[in-house]
Subunit: 235 residues, 2 copies
DNA sequence: GATAGTTTCAAACGGGCGTTTGAATTTCCT
DNA sequence: AGGAAATTCAAACGCCCGTTTGAAACTATC
């Protein structure tokens, strides 16, 4: 009546890892295609070629499986982001790295993940993008926890690179940056209809176009110079 | 055995409209809070104070109800966007309106909707934002159809205001703009945790901060000037 | 080669889902 | 008032869900 796997005494857990990995891979693909709610454990375990009960045995619940799917990729990616940022700061000791460089350090791990087909590739980026807009509280809380440290580190770096921005102003702008990024990552196929972009390697292309857009937005003056938002009907 | 309501012969359909409106209002609130999949017709009809079968009677299905929820607000909003743009072009006849003005014409109806508590208010903006990231195909197709004309009109206007951009480049940037907008609208409560923004009238504040960010991004040169995206590990 | 621990398996559990039905009720028009 | 149409209602239909169970099949250790 072992409801959860206990730590293996010795040896390699090849069999177990195989099942677990097969589940994670199938989950990643299906959560991408249909979303969390719309993916049933029955279709998921069928796609993975494992027994229905395997998910609850290895991960505890569907929610914990989803977190495992996210954590498998997010953890190394955000780790890499932090390391890149630290390298930047070490390299230009004393003076703050430029806004462009900081932003690139943030985007590059995402791009690298998108390119790495062996380990999830573009599929997973769409999972992140969608997860960020998901209404389920456990997803939001989990993502917030996963990203918190990374975002805080980058906020400090951007603050030094963009001294004309208050902390609050920058918080908003980082939110916009993550928004444009998540959204763009999430809707690659929607883009195909919408934007008639037909190339296969969309993601690199997209990040190369996204970067200058975001850099300019980050560097913009804090208040708009021409015109103001008014509610009087157009005349 | 009337499976769907036929057109009323004369008179006002006050009773019917009441039930329909109650359903639409409850659906708007619940879809916002829990998403489409996670909202059941049973809790929805209970919240609206109507019979379970009323949704299928008045709207046909849960999916059609969702489309009705969207269309009730999106239709007038996009109509207003188009009218504002036409007013802009009439007003500055011949020469193209500035990028700022075109963008404001696009944002203003969303802001006005956010302010209009009587008719959905901020709740609904979050529904749109989430719908845009939803994996369900029927939602994407529906939104694409709803937005297609408006987006096309604005694309032409932006093209004239930003002659340094190719059509393809602008398509990407409009995608980023809509992404940042949807995402920001969708995650107002996430923002509260994330950004420690505590004011009640967030949406106006947000659009006022979003506008300069987006204007700068739209105006940015087509290719980034300093640095390039490279995959060599940070060094 | 017995034994203890780990993993798989088929089957079932209880429950919630969207939708349909057909009768009861209300509303509208002559 | 009467009859037709529109609307509401309680109940049920069939289906799929996430999870649990307990026995069977493995695997590793002594």
């Amino acid at each position: 009546m072992a409801s959860r796997p206990a730590r293996r005494n010795v040896a390699l857990d090849a069999t177990s890892a195989d099942t677990k990995t097969r589940i994670l891979d199938a989950a990643e693909a299906l959560f991408t295609e249909h979303g969390f709610e719309a993916t049933s454990l029955r279709q998921l375990t069928a796609a993975a070629g494992v027994n229905l009960a395997a998910v609850n045995y290895h991960f505890g619940s569907k929610e914990e499986l989803f977190q495992a799917v996210l954590t498998r990729r997010l953890d190394p990616m955000n780790q890499e982001r932090i390391e890149l940022l630290e390298a930047l700061e070490r390299q230009a000791d004393g003076r703050p790295p430029s806004c462009e460089k900081v932003l690139f350090a943030m985007l590059m791990p995402a791009l690298r993940l998108a390119r790495d087909e062996r380990r999830g590739g573009k599929n997973f980026l769409r999972v992140i993008g969608r997860a960020y807009a998901d209404p389920a509280p456990f997803i939001r809380h989990f993502l917030h926890a996963q990203y918190a440290e990374m975002v805080e580190r980058y906020k400090e770096a951007f603050l030094r690179a963009l001294p004309h921005l208050t902390r609050q102003e920058l918080t908003w702008r980082l939110h916009f940056v993550l928004g444009a990024l998540s959204y763009s990552l999430a809707s690659t196929d929607a883009l195909k209809q919408f934007a008639q972009v037909t190339h296969a390697d969309n993601d690199e292309l997209m990040l190369q176009r996204l970067a200058p857009f975001l850099v300019a937005g980050l560097k913009a003056p804090a208040l708009v110079d021409t015109g103001r938002l008014e509610l009087a009907p157009g005349e």
